[in-house]
Amino acid sequence: MSNSSATAPKMEPDTLISFDGVSKWFDHFQALKDINLSVKQGERVVVCGPSGSGKSTMIRCVNQLENHQQGTIHVCGREVYGNMKQLEQVRREVGMVFQSFNLFPHMSILQNVTLAPIRNSKLSRAEANEIALHYLERVQIADQADKFPSQLSGGQQQRVAIARALAMKPRVMLFDEPTSALDPEMITEVLDVMTELASDGMTMMVVTHEMGFAREVADRVVFMDEGRIEENCTKDEFFTGGRGERAEAFLSKILQH
């Protein structure tokens, strides 16, 4: 780890996430190799690449679901590493949506969404309910507030997971293949919610293979391979041939499907 202080002096004021020379190992296997990346306020970055290339590992380093061994990561002006209290603060600025939803199965939809606001921001139940219903309405699922996760379809569950993340009023949203576990007919409802979120100006980092979504929403596309960022370019560069060989091969493969 570097010994730089908790606030990043060099960072531009509107940069929300920055990776500086980040490497990560699982035992002897190096999953991330010297990652440099920054995401500015309001930017939408789509991350793609073949299976096992380190996309999940990279995005999970942002809120330290995985910890890195080399380099520094700053999120919203704070270095993320070690100190639990500081890490909790960072995590409250960062919403995350998982491939497998990870809703709390023993809680109602409403409770799922209100838990963090009540526990973290010490809101009253009434205040938290109000916020929760606001976000559940936004993802068009407020009418299911009293059900339990197992009673909802995958697409509905994922929208609840988005509402749960939004209820913390995060400055950044992370998505790790949010539609990969969904039946095809439910993918659009989730992508629509994400597109709307993007048009409201949310800063987003999205691991996905939905190239239609990338074309429509992304400002930048990051292509990863074998733990490295191989491409980091604007959407237009990426989709109009500015991409390298490996990205080319990858794209032609997934666009066939």
């Binding site: 603060q89 995590r91 960062v94 998982f98 497998s100 990870n102 809703l103 709390f104 838990l115 963090a116």
Partner: protein
């Protein structure tokens, strides 16, 4: 079986295979199977009873069942006076009750220690588990009674309680740890990602999901603690087994008294098991 005998629905209810109506219903077969198992049990018990009877006869053992009443209680001048067996089982219940509470505490603390990031916590928990698991319970009991009790000035009852709690606590610890670890990894991650403090994550996300996994084996453990508590008779805590031993040395009625003592443990543990099962069914229904 085309039609069910009128008695069978009642039996089915008793055996917990209610709702048997259709002859092709596999539950009917289950009733038949259960009946057969009951028959097997009856035959087995009959054989054992005969063996005991024959054995006792060969030894010219003189059964004196008529004398056992006062061992339970006497009524003198309309006043209820508990006999040694009732006194004993009350002490057994106290012993088991107090050690249950302590063993859950010890188990929970040890599980937390094992799961914590603190090296000291893990080391203490692991050392405790290894010592308890790799030494005989009887030796532990002597250690508590002859070494620790005099040092800390505790009486034999508390020596017994602490020893049992330490022993059962090691099993409780593994049950609790197993339950906590069985909660899906995604749940921990969702708790972390929503910025919950470690305490809140466990309190609101992990423990509520681990409890349904922990409770059944834990209650089983606590019920068997009642049986294990018999071992403290070696340090003469006046619980059921000790009272039984004393009675035998006074009366020489070894057969009757051992049967009664065994029967009392049996009734106690099976009725607790039934109670727990009923509660579990109710809990599942409430969910």
């Amino acid at each position: 079986m085309t039609q069910i005998h009128p008695e069978i629905p009642f039996l089915a209810k008793l055996l917990g295979v209610e709702g048997v109506r259709h002859p092709k219903d596999p539950a009917s077969a289950q009733v038949a199977r259960s009946l057969w198992q009951i028959a097997q049990a009856v035959i087995l018990f009959a054989v054992i009873a005969w063996l005991i009877h024959a054995g006792a006869a060969a030894m010219e053992y003189r059964w004196q069942w008529y004398r056992v009443g006062p061992f339970f209680y006497r009524i003198i001048d309309g006043e209820f006076i508990p006999g040694p067996l009732i006194k004993g089982i009350i002490v057994t219940l106290q012993l088991a009750g107090v050690s249950s509470v302590l063993s859950i505490l010890i188990g929970a603390l040890t599980a937390i220690g094992r799961l914590s990031n603190s090296i000291a916590g893990r080391a203490i928990a692991t050392t405790y588990l290894e010592i308890i698991r790799n030494t005989p319970l009887l030796v532990q009991l002597f250690m508590f009674y002859f070494v620790l009790a005099p040092i800390f000035g505790i009486d034999r009852f508390w020596a017994g309680v602490l020893c049992l709690a330490a022993f059962e606590g090691s099993f409780a610890a593994e049950i609790i740890r197993g339950g906590i670890q069985a909660v899906e990894r995604g749940q921990y991650e969702a708790g972390d990602a929503t910025g919950l403090s470690k305490f809140d994550k466990y309190r609101y996300v992990i423990i509520p999901q681990a409890l349904p996994l922990i409770l059944p084996p834990l209650t089983g453990l606590l019920i068997s603690l009642i049986k294990h508590s018999a071992i403290v008779s070696v340090i003469a805590v006046a619980e059921l087994t000790t009272e039984g031993l004393n009675l035998i040395s006074d009366t020489y009625m070894a057969f009757e008294i051992w049967f009664i003592v065994a029967g009392m443990y049996l009734v106690l543990t099976t009725s607790l098991s039934v109670l727990v099962n009923i509660l579990e069914v109710k809990m599942n229904r409430a969910r």
